[in-house]
């Protein structure tokens, strides 16, 4: 083995320039993790909330309070009539009940929580006064991991990150080297162009593994997002995604001579995928006429494949059509990039 092997040296330098750049580390690993945490918190599944109910002050108030004492769905308070109106107006309570021979519910039917409070409170009080249900019922609660928003979100974020990493990790690096005239300097040596491109792609593949661990590991530890499918399958799909977007990144950067140009082009390429590819919500929400376009986007295919394996436990074979579309994007971009690439 040669003491100085070009592919190895190029690859090592890719590693070094990456891990010595704190910003690059943050945007590749830290940012998606923070995004996962924030979105996970924002859309977390809450415990069912108590319904705030005010009972208007009167001799019968204590009786109502006692009848509802066993019920843990309500947060009861006894207030004078003026306070009751005020609390209702400010939304501090969902409903006010005035005791009497006829129970008087005061609520705003246009507010969903008020309308729900009306139904629940009435149901509870009627039973408390002795109503019997004609048929017995049983409640089975099904809040399971896998069906929550965070479970939907994690594969989307992973796909988004693989796209960003591939496009920026290759496109930005190449353009930066061109701006510095470093590409020109390298091409003036006997360096093989294929060695150079190979080191870029190989670098992307290696950086993908920690990305995968950070996002899926973060999801598992923080939100108990369980991976239903095979880890090797997920890794393989992620690597295919990383290579494809690296090819696309190379194409986008093949002629850019300024950092501003590449930034603009990157955003232009990524924007449709951010919107349509189902990162944050299902792409099926768009009308049918959009679907052929949406399905043609590489990120749609990547996220669908990841979601299928991570959430539904799909197999690699199930994803073959998606992976083919993804690879076609990467392969065609790469070949095109080689043809039009400008070294100087």
């Amino acid at each position: 083995m040669k003491k100085y092997h070009p592919t190895r040296e190029l690859f090592l330098d890719r590693m070094r320039t990456f891990y010595r750049e704190p910003e690059a580390i943050f945007w590749t690993y830290g940012f998606p993790l923070i995004l996962t945490i924030l979105l996970g918190i924002a859309f977390r599944n809450r415990q069912p909330e108590l319904i705030d109910v005010a009972i208007e002050q009167s001799p019968a108030a204590a009786d109502l309070q006692r009848r509802l004492a066993d019920n843990d769905e309500f947060n009861l308070s006894v207030l004078d009539p003026q306070q009751c109106r005020e609390h209702l107006r400010l939304g501090k309570v969902a409903i006010v009940v005035r005791p009497g021979d006829v129970l008087d519910y005061q609520y705003d039917p246009t507010r969903p929580e008020s309308a729900m409070a009306r139904a629940k409170l009435d149901d509870a009080l009627q039973r408390a006064f002795g109503r019997t249900d004609p048929t017995p019922v049983k409640n089975t609660e099904v809040t399971e991991p896998g069906a929550r928003y965070i479970d939907f979100l994690i594969p989307g974020l992973l796909g988004m990150n693989l796209m960003g990493g591939g496009l920026w990790g290759v496109g930005f690096v190449v353009t930066d080297m061109r701006v510095r005239k470093l590409l020109r300097r390298l091409i003036a040596t006997p360096m093989k162009k294929t060695d150079f491109l190979f080191s870029l792609i190989a670098g992307r593949l290696v950086f993908t593994i920690p990305e995968l661990l950070f996002i899926l590991g973060g999801g598992l530890l923080l939100f108990n997002v369980r991976v239903q499918g095979n880890w090797i399958t997920i890794t393989f799909i992620s690597l295919v995604g990383a290579v494809s977007f690296a090819g696309l990144g190379l194409l986008v950067a093949s002629r850019a001579e300024k950092i501003e140009t590449i930034s603009g082009l990157m955003n232009l390429v990524m924007l449709p995928m951010w919107l349509f590819s189902g990162i944050f919500f299902s792409s099926e929400r768009f009308p049918d006429v959009f679907q052929p376009f949406i399905q043609a986007l590489p990120l749609t295919q990547l996220i669908d494949a990841l979601r299928s394996v991570i959430v539904e436990g799909g197999t690699l074979i199930d994803q073959s059509a998606r992976l083919l579309i993804l690879l076609a994007w990467g392969g065609i971009s790469f070949l095109l990039a080689l043809r039009i690439f400008r070294w100087t």
Partner: protein, 323 residues
């Protein structure tokens, strides 16, 4: 005598399709001999860098014949040439967060044969900075590293494009030593510069380039001799009665040992072979005309004088910065 590089009738037109094409080279001929240090000299925009980049295979000439180390840039022999040449380009910025040692290992890996990175680091005197990030290096150190990258493949032919531009005198001298070392090993160096003193000190032969062609070629001494005289005498005149000194150029060329005279600023500049003959004669003649010397300096002719004589223009800093 073998040639390290040559080109004949080299032409380069930029933006040939547009309305105002720029002719950077208009028929340039060049022969660089093996083992010499060859200087391309001229103001910025003269075509030096274009010439060098065509020789390096980075630019394609619009027309003309180019041969480097007996081979041509034709696709088949490119790699062979690249293995044998070393290049330092103008303003390449190497990766900030790599060290000189890492950078040199990378460049070394591209060549089949070459020097050890550590040896090259020693040659360019970067031992103390070998493991510092490049971003921490001074301008002179970065420039020495750029030259080190050119040397690490142990090239038969070394191209240095303006290696000392913008460097302090100390850094310039250090680079000169590195370049001289190359010549003692019978390697060829092609260097471009707009510093006349640099060419004079380093180069066996220089070609003066102006407006895309070579206007003079020879050893620095030859070129200096060609303008007649090895000394320059510069002076201003005043009249005793305070009136302006209205003197014709011929007045000076008739003096013994004076080979050339031209106005220079408010005064005159003479090229002289033997100052000890010319100066007394000058003073006598002035006294006879009731004229007096207000200022007098003598110095050796430099390549700067050659350039001025050939083009009528100075290589001033303003010209350099405006290009």
């Amino acid at each position: 005598m073998t040639l390290a590089a040559c080109c004949r009738d080299l032409r380069k037109r930029y933006d040939a399709k547009k309305k105002n094409p720029v002719d950077a080279l208009v028929g340039l001929d060049l022969e660089v001999r093996t083992g010499e240090c060859f200087g391309l000299l001229g103001p910025n925009g003269a075509g030096k860098t274009t010439t060098v980049e065509i020789l390096e295979g980075l630019l394609k000439p619009t027309s003309g014949h180019v041969e480097v180390l007996g081979r041509k840039w034709n696709g088949r022999e490119d790699d062979d040439i690249r293995q044998r040449i070393g290049i330092s380009l103008q303003d390449t910025r190497l990766s900030d967060k790599l060290t000189p040692r890492e950078t040199l290992s990378l460049f070394r890996s591209f060549y089949n044969q070459g020097r050890e990175p550590d040896d090259v680091i020693r040659m360019v005197n970067l031992n103390e900075k070998a493991d510092a990030w490049i971003v921490k290096l001074s301008g002179g150190q970065k420039q020495r590293l750029a030259v080190a990258c050119a040397l690490v493949g142990d090239p038969e032919l070394l191209f240095l494009d303006e290696p000392t531009t913008g460097l302090d005198p100390q850094s310039r001298r250090e680079l000169w030593d590195i370049i001289r070392e190359q010549r003692t090993r019978a390697r060829t160096t092609i260097i471009t510069t707009h510093y006349m003193d640099e060419a004079q000190r380093l180069c066996d032969r220089v070609a003066v380039v102006d407006h895309g062609k070579i206007i003079a070629l020879g050893s620095p001494d030859e070129l200096i001799r060609r303008i007649g005289g090895e000394h320059v005498v510069e002076f201003d005149l005043i009249r005793h009665d305070g009136q302006s000194a209205d003197v014709d150029i011929d007045f000076f060329t008739e003096l013994p040992s004076v080979n050339g005279a031209r106005p220079e600023g408010d005064g005159f500049s003479l090229t002289v072979t033997q100052p000890h003959l010319a100066l007394p004669a000058l003073i006598n003649k002035l006294q006879a005309r009731n004229l007096e010397l207000a200022r007098l300096t003598t110095r050796h002719v430099s390549l700067e004088d050659v350039f001025v004589t050939l083009t009528g223009r100075r290589l001033t800093d303003e010209e350099i910065s405006s290009n």
